[in-house]
């Protein structure tokens, strides 16, 4: 004989099971939604993996500018990067040029802010002068190469709408394919497609389309190496498909978390880059 109280308990238990059944049903459906990343999220993770790994980073960068006839010019520099905080936040860049001869000893510093124009300074050894330079055009060529400043140090994610298109393989690697369309009209491209490696979120390929919809620039990550446990694109190239000009970049002597001091990013060291950082 069940008491009134026991009947009530059983009723509630049955109700709870019924309720839980619905919860499980919903929970069973949810992961499909929760684990599919949006285009925005893929690009955010890609930015963190490609441009922000480590507290700091150093590389000897060798750029070959190759015209359609195969003639080469070489730009060689040491690039130092330091993050101010989390991925997507402020960064500082320091670059010291070894080649070509007429820019040897030139150094260059960028304070990069995600939501506003960079601050840039250049040291001109010929007259021993440090100058702040205007930098509103992030789509400008970096030292005459096919890479723009944005290609080197990143484009604000907020500047584009990012739409997940589909999954696709690049070679043997599974990738997310994301289409990014500029929100404003000031960009020099109509949209771009980025193939982001599902495993490490590095961009393995990027196609930029001009405003008429013609493909005009092609980025490829040609070699990914494990540097101190961080997958790093150590060889990359950017080809202008309309002019036939291309730029191949190799990162040598790469390192992460080297303890680069904040004070390095200053006029003092712009004038006298310390040997220990620019070798």
């Amino acid at each position: 004989m069940k008491t009134k109280f026991q009947r009530r308990l059983m009723r509630e238990a049955r109700y709870a099971v019924t309720k839980r059944w619905w919860i499980w049903l919903i929970a069973g459906l949810l992961p499909l939604q929760a684990f599919a990343l949006t285009g925005e999220e893929v690009m955010k993770k890609s930015q963190a993996a490609f441009l922000y790994p480590g507290k700091d980073f150093k590389a000897r960068v060798v750029m070959k500018l190759i015209n359609k006839d195969g003639q080469e010019r070489v730009r060689e520099l040491t690039m130092l990067r330091k993050n101010a905080g989390e991925p997507g936040g402020d960064q500082r860049y320091f670059m010291y040029f070894f080649q070509p001869a007429d820019v040897k000893d030139m150094s260059f510093m960028i304070y990069k802010y995600p939501a506003k124009d960079d601050d840039r300074w250049i040291f001109i050894p010929a007259i021993n002068m440090v100058k702040r330079i205007a930098a509103q055009d992030r789509r400008s060529s970096f030292v005459g190469s096919d890479f723009t400043y944005e290609d080197v140090s990143g484009r604000d994610l907020e500047d584009d709408n990012h739409a997940f298109e589909r999954e696709e393989k690049i070679g043997s690697r599974d990738c997310y394919l994301v289409k990014s369309t500029p929100k404003g009209t000031d960009a020099d491209f109509g949209y771009k497609l980025t193939w982001v490696d599902k495993a490490n979120f590095l961009p393995l390929k990027e196609e930029q389309y001009d405003k008429r919809g013609a493909r005009y620039k092609l980025f490829t990550a040609d070699e990914v190496a494990d540097i101190q446990g961080v997958p790093t694109v150590v060889k990359r190239s950017m080809k202008n498909l309309q002019s036939g000009h291309r730029t191949e970049v190799a990162y040598l002597k790469t390192g992460y978390n080297l303890g680069i001091e904040d004070s390095l990013f200053s006029e003092r060291f712009l004038r006298q880059p310390p040997r220990k950082w620019v070798d």
Partner: protein
Amino acid sequence: MSRFAAVCTALLLAPLAARAEVALSGFLQQNTAFNAVAANPDGRHSKWLEERAQLKLDATGGAWRLLAKGDLALDHLGRQDQSELREGYVDYTAGNWDMRVGRQVITWGLGDLVFVNDVFPKDYEALFAGRPLEYLKRGVDAVKLGAYPEFANFELVLAPGFRESRIPNANRFHLYDPMPAVANRETIMPGEGDVGLRIYRDVAGYDAALYLYRGFQRTPSMRPDNMTAPTKISTFYPQLSLYGASVSGRAGEGVLSLEAAYYDSRQDRSGNDFAVPNSQTRLLAGYQIQPVEDLSLGFQYYAEAMHDYGAYRAALPAGFPVEKRRSHTVTARLTQFFLHQTLRLSVYASYNASNGDDFVNPELRYSFTDRVWGAVGANFFGGKSWGQFGQLSRDDNIYLQVRYQF
């Protein structure tokens, strides 16, 4: 004995040399500037005609660095011994201070061919004769001490001897001379050195600096021994102190630069001596933008104001050109890159609205390879016959520079 000393020195330096990283580089250069309007006062047809070689040694070992940059030139316009130590110094770098001792190029301020706080010597002849930009500055023999505590950066420059700016040579340029008949000339160099201090730091995202200098004017003044019947003219460098400031930072789409300085003409504070420049205030406002890829535009407004104009006018002898109390100059520079930044067109123009002086310098420069570049350009001058540029109006020239770097 000397061999013994050399061996000893070599042995002493060997450990340092073994640890040092040594880099040798340099260039070979040809530089020609043809007259475009008239022959030189000496009858020659070129402002510049020379072959030049530079060798640069850069050695680093620990906190020490040695840099030596020496030139050897063959001048075809009658100048002897064109060898020169361009720079030669030793650096010592510590945690929050450093030191540079020797001949060094120092540039202060923000101006583009307009100098408000840059009190260091220049080579105006190089600028006007179509030589490469690096020859605009002359090194000073000095000790430079840098200190970098948290709150600001300090740069103290102590030069035991004075080094003047080089003005165009009278054999090559048509210089204004108020007393051409007086052949007896002497130059009196200051018997002491000079000292400068620059303090700089970031202030709310702007680069701010203060400048203090005690020394001499870098360009000479002239004084005749007798105003009515001069027999001798003395060239000298009047005492000068400078108190200046500058700030630069982002403004709108570009970079805004502001500079101001008070020039205290210590040798003539009353302004009664016509041979010594009046005390002055100098102001500069500059703006640089990059409207599209590979194009940069720069604009400057520059003003000079005399402080004792009444005294200057009263003391000025009859027949001497009269300068205005205030002088206003505007400049513009366009720089455009082509062909993956291997071809550069640059045009600089300056116009002084107070005396009509103007200076235009277009230049096209191309890097044939990573080691060889060449430039072709021109210098055009105009204005009144006694103005800074006006006096050079017959010295317009077209120049060529070719350099092989190794």
